[in-house]
């Protein structure tokens, strides 16, 4: 793999729209072309080199391209938008929309990621080592067809409405998920260390597994007894779980919710 390193200089005070930071866009271009790729901030247009020092080697194809963002980019948005192959590593925290519409390849954020990370992902892998913001793996505003494939792993916690409209793929949050995790979920798998409330509201399909505690469960879920080592998709979960189905506030709901903690 060939590596391009972007060293962030001063970030603007408000969001920097940098959807050009993607292996699909970088591959096959010269360094100079990459430096001149457009970025937007406020109502102005600038170039990538205004905010990043660009160095390294360009690959011919996206599959062979790795992009390292060497530092915190807490105002940079849309990193890896629609990426189909290659790898991006952010050695710090990123702003909103990391890996939105991504269909392949891999993105690692070593710090935190902002809201809407992994929005409507179709494939590939997004790994956030810190915490994720709200709407992790959700659908775009108004869209009813959410994330449909790929895998999101968050080692920390995630905010509200994780996996909203989830339609396939896997979201794994090791820490706690905020309110309305898996809201309007149709397919796929959402796993969380623990959850607060309204888990699976309006879900009609798919599986949610909460390994630890759910503080308040919705009354529209039916308790179906305790199960040992349940499986969902390719994943197996060791231990005893309380099984629920729901959300029966919806017509013909076939969602499944496993809760691990008995307390």
């Amino acid at each position: 793999m060939k590596e391009i390193v972007l060293v962030p200089r001063e970030q603007p005070d408000y969001g920097l729209i940098a959807e050009c930071i993607s292996c699909d866009v970088f591959a096959g271009r010269s360094l100079e072309e990459i430096e001149n790729l457009p970025v937007y901030y406020g109502n102005r247009r600038g170039k990538l080199a205004d905010f990043f020092d660009v160095s390294g080697e360009v690959a011919g194809r996206a599959e062979e391209q790795r992009i390292i963002i060497d530092g915190n980019v807490t105002k940079t948005r849309w990193i890896g938008r629609g990426m189909s192959a290659g790898e991006i590593v952010v050695r710090g925290s990123a702003d909103m929309y990391v890996g939105a519409w991504m269909s392949g390849g891999r993105i690692v954020v070593e710090g935190d990621a902002g809201a809407f990370s992994g929005m409507q992902m179709r494939g590939g892998e997004l790994h956030i080592i810190g915490n994720a913001g709200d709407y992790l793996g959700c659908s775009y505003r108004g869209e009813w067809r959410g994330m449909s494939g790929g895998r999101i792993v968050v080692d920390g916690n995630a905010g509200a409405e994780v996996g909203q409209n989830l339609n396939g793929g896997v979201i794994f949050v090791r820490g706690c998920v905020g309110t309305f995790a898996g809201v309007r979920m149709k397919k796929g798998l959402l796993v969380a260390g623990s959850a607060i409330d309204r888990v699976g509201a309006q879900m009609v399909g798919g599986t949610i597994v909460v390994l630890g505690k759910v503080e308040r469960l919705l009354p529209s879920f039916d308790f179906k007894g305790e199960v040992e080592n349940p499986a969902a998709g390719d994943e197996k979960f060791a231990g005893r779980f309380r099984k629920y189905t729901g959300d029966h506030a919806e017509r013909n709901a076939k969602g499944v919710l496993y809760v691990g903690d008995h307390g």
Binding site: R45, Y140, R141, G142, W144
Partner: protein
């Protein structure tokens, strides 16, 4: 500004010009016989048509805005940054006002009518029209479920109904009488619909048949430029062609006051379905086309479906509810007091769906079975069948049997089995395309200065980079599709707005509305009645109801002598 469009192939069906190589001269925003020292634009090897005229497109008003609010996911599909002349704009099936103007202009359109304006929403509609640049525009005004219209017609007082219609067009600054699911919109206020021409409307005891034939009479008494513009009952229902055929008979209710039809049945593709369930859903386009061919007072526009994701919006509230209950998608519904009840819901026309595939075929069947192209106008009922910027694709389908065959292979086999499309080998020529996209519309709307290139016409011209001597549309359909999407020049009122597919100048067009006056004593009687009913039933004061001209860009009243007394 003087211009000479030199040496292009001109297609001007109203003046019978079929591909002749000639010069078009322009002076002071009008077409003239000859001009001295004009700027010369070389159009050799190019195709010249009058500027396109859009007769039925939901481009402004409450529904359109509701669609925009409901569908942020639609905006992000089509985003344009600002340029030196245009604003930033977005939207796919619900484009912003500015984008609507830009996109029409790139297609060579210079005039567009928004399809359904509830009079109570007229101010809002005109505020949106105000922000649609590049086009002359107007609004079809909803009257088919209006309490006053239904009351006057029920008691047989056609004169008062005519006086009301004339007043309403003036008040709403509307252009023509639009009728949507007559009676059904009012019944929807009670959770019901009307399913045949003889279903009575709750509390008004009038039937759709009486509303339609009454408004046909009213329209011809007022001698309005356009006929009534009718969205018939039972839109989108299986087996609805029976209702459509019955509705066509009502066009005979009055003699046309002008040289045009008495009824334009709109988006008739949605009204040409046979079968008795969704499983047996089939096309009855041939029966509808036969009826249109045999009548001289009915024309249709097709409301063609193009596959993809769109937003449906109509003043037909019960229909939108029905549609959203089929798809399970988000839905918006409104009650416009005494006037109408519109709805909005997204829809996806899929090539894998038997119903969508048949719908696609039905529209093309209609266009190809109806003999006289002046009787079948090209629309998509934007955005209901597809966004209007899909017109080039439809033009290519009409011009190429091969392209239709190619598409037929990709769609569900129901289109082959349940329609006659595969058996049709007719292909439109450029003359017929010019008819179904501009000349026919202008004639139907009674726009004497539009849709043609004779001296005295508005200097609205579209120049396409197609050489009809070299291009074979039957074979080069991809080229047709590409070239009709971007004009070489779009000229409006003598000004070049688009050059080589890019917008070079942004202007505000005129807003056309009908100013029809009736006898004073009749008007006084009407105002007494309105005063009483507005106080009792409307949420606005009568004095605050009419839209002032200040809301219109370049207001252009069209005076009509009615002689109604």
């Amino acid at each position: 500004m003087k211009l000479i469009l030199k040496n292009g192939f001109v297609y001007d069906p109203i003046n019978g010009i079929n591909g002749e190589r000639m010069d078009i001269c322009i002076q002071d925003g009008k077409i003239v016989e000859d001009v001295e020292n004009g700027r010369i634009i070389d159009c050799s090897g190019k195709l010249i048509m009058p500027g396109g005229v859009e007769i039925h497109s939901h481009i402004a008003g409450g529904k359109v805005n509701t669609g925009r609010i409901m569908r942020p996911e639609d905006h992000i599909k089509n985003v344009f940054p600002k340029t030196g002349v245009t604003r930033a704009a977005n939207g796919y099936s619900t484009p912003s006002t500015f984008l609507t103007g830009y996109l029409y202009s790139k297609l060579g359109y210079t005039c567009a009518f928004t399809a359904a304006m509830p009079p109570l929403m007229a101010r809002h509609t005109h505020e949106e029209l105000h922000d649609i640049p590049m086009l002359d525009k107007g609004a079809l005004t909803l009257m088919g479920n209006n309490w006053f219209v239904m009351r006057y017609l029920k008691r047989g007082d056609v004169e008062l109904a005519a006086a009301f219609a004339a007043w309403l067009l003036r008040a709403a600054k509307g252009y023509a009488i639009k009728v949507v699911n007559p009676g059904g919109g009012e019944a929807w206020g009670w959770g019901r619909d009307v399913r045949s021409l003889d279903d009575p409307v709750p509390h008004f005891d009038i039937t759709p048949r009486e509303i339609i034939s009454g408004l046909v009479k009213v329209n011809e008494m007022l001698s309005l430029p356009h006929s009534i513009h009718l969205h018939a009952n039972n839109l989108g229902r299986v087996g609805n062609y029976v209702t459509t055929l019955e509705t066509m008979e009502l066009a005979d209710g009055a003699k046309p006051a002008r040289e045009r039809q008495t009824v334009q049945l709109t988006h008739v593709q949605f009204h040409s379905y046979g079968g008795d369930s969704w499983r047996t859903f089939a096309s009855e386009a041939e029966s509808i086309a036969k009826a249109v061919n045999s009548k001289d007072n009915v024309i249709v526009d097709i409301g063609q479906v193009v596959f993809g994701d769109t937003t449906t919006m109509t003043a037909d509230g019960p229909m939108e509810y029905y549609l959203s209950s089929l798809t399970g998608l988000k839905w918006s519904n409104r009650n416009i007091e005494l006037e109408t009840s519109p709805g909005v819901t997204p829809f996806i026309y899929s090539k894998h769906s038997p119903v969508s595939s048949v719908q696609w075929a039905v529209g093309l069947e209609l266009a190809l079975h109806i003999k006289d192209p002046f009787n079948v106008l090209l629309t998509t009922d934007h955005p209901n069948g597809a966004p209007f910027f899909k017109y080039p694709t439809i033009i290519a389908w009409l011009m190429s049997a091969k392209y239709r065959e190619e598409t037929m292979k990709e769609v569900h086999r129901a289109a082959q089995r349940n329609t006659t499309l595969a058996t049709i080998d007719r292909e439109y020529d450029f003359y017929e395309i010019a008819t179904v996209t501009r000349a026919g519309q202008a004639k139907s709307l009674g726009l004497e200065e539009k849709g043609h290139l004779g001296p005295g016409a508005d200097a609205d011209v579209a120049v396409y980079d197609i050489n009809p001597e070299e291009v074979d549309p039957g074979r080069d359909y991809r080229l047709i599709e590409e070239k009709f999407a971007r004009t070489s020049y779009t000229i409006k009122s003598g000004e070049v707005l688009v050059k080589d597919g890019e917008i070079v100048r942004v202007v505000n067009g005129r807003t056309l509305y009908v100013d029809a006056q009736v006898d004073e004593s009749l008007e006084r009687e009407l105002m007494r009645d309105l005063d009483y009913y507005f106080k009792r039933f409307y949420s606005v004061n009568l004095a605050n109801y009419p839209v002032q001209e200040v809301y219109l860009t370049n207001p252009t009243p069209i005076k009509v002598e009615t002689g109604v007394r």
